[in-house]
Symmetry: C2
Subunit: 200 residues, 2 copies
């Protein structure tokens, strides 16, 4: 990796951590230049525009999420255990990844929902990819006999996303010390409902 | 209601609708003055500071939520039907209340989670009140025999909040046309899990 790339990655890492606190809109080239003791023109040489920077921060966070959550969880056995591994790593990911302001994607989702453009498009693409990963992992539980054949994996992916948004809300806004336990109980309810529908 | 109060309410209604799109941080006295063709000093006479305005916008939204969701739902029979009424009205509330940018509380939660102060405190108080209302309504289903005696009403309130955050994410960021159906299916899963635990 050349020096240019190293600098670019260092900028993106800093920007990603900052964005987890202040949102993507809070990423100004001026602020980053001051934080990193670089010139604004030096930063512009790497990113050309704030929008390019924002898209690359999202991509960087996506790569970190894949490395921290997805790839290790895929090492677990197919089916329910893999889904549980995915869920537990997801629950901890902002700590593991060292994001001080919580999940960047949750913040960005609310920031960007009314702002059409390439940054929003990139976020939507990343979120859909992630929902697809969850659905695919859930689907591996059907041939294993962990989940019923009538399981709707896309619904389960949506529901798990909701559980995680509830966790973020309880932990970060309400400072609820039981936020993680609440999220785990929500996850178990979803699995219980899946089993109840099978036996019904 | 005096003319002063009427003006104040008209400002708050406009500010609330604007905040549903741009967030509470986007509420500048200057922007409101321009939108409403008032002088900045006229607006300051009503609100003194941006922070006071933000707190009052939250209170106004809380009052609207109570009128649109809570009070009509409380007219439904105790227990499961009342909980369903609460859920359905909640799902539709931004449409019923005419909030063009979706739920103001969801946006504010992400905006304010890292910003200590009176606005955040007011939001947290309103959110806890609302979770308490859900838990109390869920609890009325126990003596009615709709829910098991071992139901944890606070967990159910947390879980329903998560379902609604998932709805907001799917509807507003992902523009998923099935967002409301997904939320309803998530709600049914929670009730199914409650029943499965009772019969287990």
């Amino acid at each position: 990796m050349g020096k240019g790339e190293q600098t670019r990655d260092a900028i993106l890492d800093h920007a990603m951590r900052l964005a987890s606190k202040v949102g993507l809109a809070g990423l100004s080239i001026g602020r980053l230049a001051a934080d990193l003791e670089m010139s604004k023109s030096g930063l512009f040489a790497h990113f050309q525009s704030k929008e390019t920077l924002q898209v690359q921060v999202l991509d960087r966070a996506g790569a970190l999420f894949a490395a921290t959550v997805v790839r290790p969880a895929l090492a677990a056995p197919r089916g329910e255990r893999r889904l549980r591994a995915l869920f537990e790593r997801w629950l901890d990911w902002t700590k593991t990844a060292g994001l001080p302001g919580g999940c960047l994607f949750v913040t960005a989702a609310v920031e960007l929902d009314d702002r059409p453009g390439p940054v929003r498009d990139r976020l939507v693409a990343l979120q859909k990819e992630w929902l697809d990963v969850i659905a695919r992992v859930a689907r591996t539980g059907i041939p294993e006999g962990h989940f019923a054949g009538n399981l709707d994996p896309d619904q389960l992916a949506h529901d798990l996303y909701a559980v995680m948004l509830g966790y973020h809300h309880a932990a970060r806004l309400l400072r609820d010390p039981r936020a993680a336990d609440r999220a785990r109980a929500g996850f178990e309810s979803l699995l219980t409902a899946t089993r109840a529908r099978r036996s019904a």
